[in-house]
Symmetry: C2
Subunit: 346 residues, 2 copies
Amino acid sequence: MSPAKTKDSFGDQQIDMAHGAGGEASRRLVEGLFEPAFSNPSLATLADAAVLEVSAARLAITTDSFVVKPLRFPGGSIGELAVNGTLNDLAVSGAKPIALTASFVLEAGLDVAVLRQEVDAMAGAARRANVPIVAGDTKVVENGKADGMYISTTGLGIVDSRIELAPQRVQAGDRVILSGPIGAHGMTIMIARAELELQADIQSDTRLLSPLVEALIDRVGPSLKWMRDATRGGVATVLNELARDSGMVVEVVEESIPVEDAVRGACELLGLDPLHVANEGQFIAIVSGDRADEAIEALHQAPGGRQARVVGAICEGRVARVVAKASYGGTRIVDMLIGDPLPRIC
Amino acid sequence: MSPAKTKDSFGDQQIDMAHGAGGEASRRLVEGLFEPAFSNPSLATLADAAVLEVSAARLAITTDSFVVKPLRFPGGSIGELAVNGTLNDLAVSGAKPIALTASFVLEAGLDVAVLRQEVDAMAGAARRANVPIVAGDTKVVENGKADGMYISTTGLGIVDSRIELAPQRVQAGDRVILSGPIGAHGMTIMIARAELELQADIQSDTRLLSPLVEALIDRVGPSLKWMRDATRGGVATVLNELARDSGMVVEVVEESIPVEDAVRGACELLGLDPLHVANEGQFIAIVSGDRADEAIEALHQAPGGRQARVVGAICEGRVARVVAKASYGGTRIVDMLIGDPLPRIC
């Protein structure tokens, strides 16, 4: 049982406008619900800003708003996503997180039990990652405006001095590593919304990527050249960003990209390319060719990294782009996501 | 003319779901509209996180979501508020800002001209404060949600080592300083919504507080003991937080608190106490009694500080609370804001 629950003293049943007014009701919400859940020394001051001591460092900062619909889905929920998603952006930037902030836009009429569930999910995810949530804010908007809640998180981290990640460092012969099977998050959300008449045993891959990223850094250090988590827009969009920013051709072997059967089936039904479907627990890493085997070995030994594999390589080419090769010999150009077949997946 | 405008190349007329999907349309929005407006070296990388170099320091971090309705109002707009509001939280924490992040929740169907106006307002406010917007995110929700846009900003700053702000340092004899006339922001929003049948010449006090705060720190240094900007819940709420956190009685002289005539009139019509009405450009500072004259002199000489004055003092008392004295001799207890007479003012 979390220490959060034992101290929660917020007795209101529903959120109303007064909880966002900054007065007495706001204070009860913050002190009764948020503080006990997010308990840490920096947050406890309730001042306008949290204060953190750092020594000389390169800081990384990242921010995201989360509007996923529905709020809860198989394998995760908006609260867990809001913590892991932002921490993953730090992880793939090669930074160790030191603090998170969380800002809520709540809808009047929101059941406090629903809010409490997400606050606990955030507190749990932050605790597992060992990162304090140090500052926050709450606004309340009218019923009908915010689908229960939107959450914005900002992550602050310290860049690992052992590595330098930059698309300019990517060169021909480097390998493209994928951390695991793709498409699970996007298809889970689609099915959870019942927009798809389908019962499939799929759950979101929402998870913290730090253990995998750290295993990689520990093993190959500066031979790790670039990372990005494949969230909105999927692996295809991330690889296109890499091609553009590095000026290189990214060549992937279609069959080497792991996709669970249920996800592949759902994608085929909808005419979606799994490469365009969002993930919340997978990333792409570019590692120099001579260290790729070690990188894979390190990932396989890390928790949750068993399915990591090399899925392609970087090549020279006249036009920077992403090409997928099939085993029967065909190739196709993989584009960025155009339009939005799966809105509001994070 | 701002450099932002000359490079803006976003040709779409309306926001749609695809702009939030993370693919090609998102990229056009970020590169065509946000990047030119917020142009700075950290942002230009478009990576998952921005990187900042810092030497050993105490960092302050603060976050806020902005849901003000309407988006534009006399004296300001949501974009300017989102920058100044967060920078003001850093300022009253005694921190010099080094970076901002901005995250948008946009409504599908939003006129891009409206978005552009707010992005420009943010860029202008950030430029005037000399703080880069280094990271961001955009999500799009369906038409009818989010009232055009919600903006979440996070500010990162370095705490000024010359001062130590803490409610525990506040003691009997300290003076309560108010930076200027109160209630303008809340009443402006109320009138702009036409919820009040009133034509009054009031405009929001939205502004950056750093010049005033810096003047105060430069002059009285460690004799400055506590600060807070009087936003949601107004001066009354801030003073109640001070009373509670310091365990002292905060005594203010009712007539010494400046309120513009038009604001006072509007408050009287609505039966509101100006002490409960939100400000976006005023703060309370607690300064030791022997340095209060100097503090006021410093504020008077700073831009926008002409109306700063001592409005009360800290006293011992059996019960920590806020008491307002009237010149005719009466006193009343000033409570925190209960309920929300003025929702969504920031």
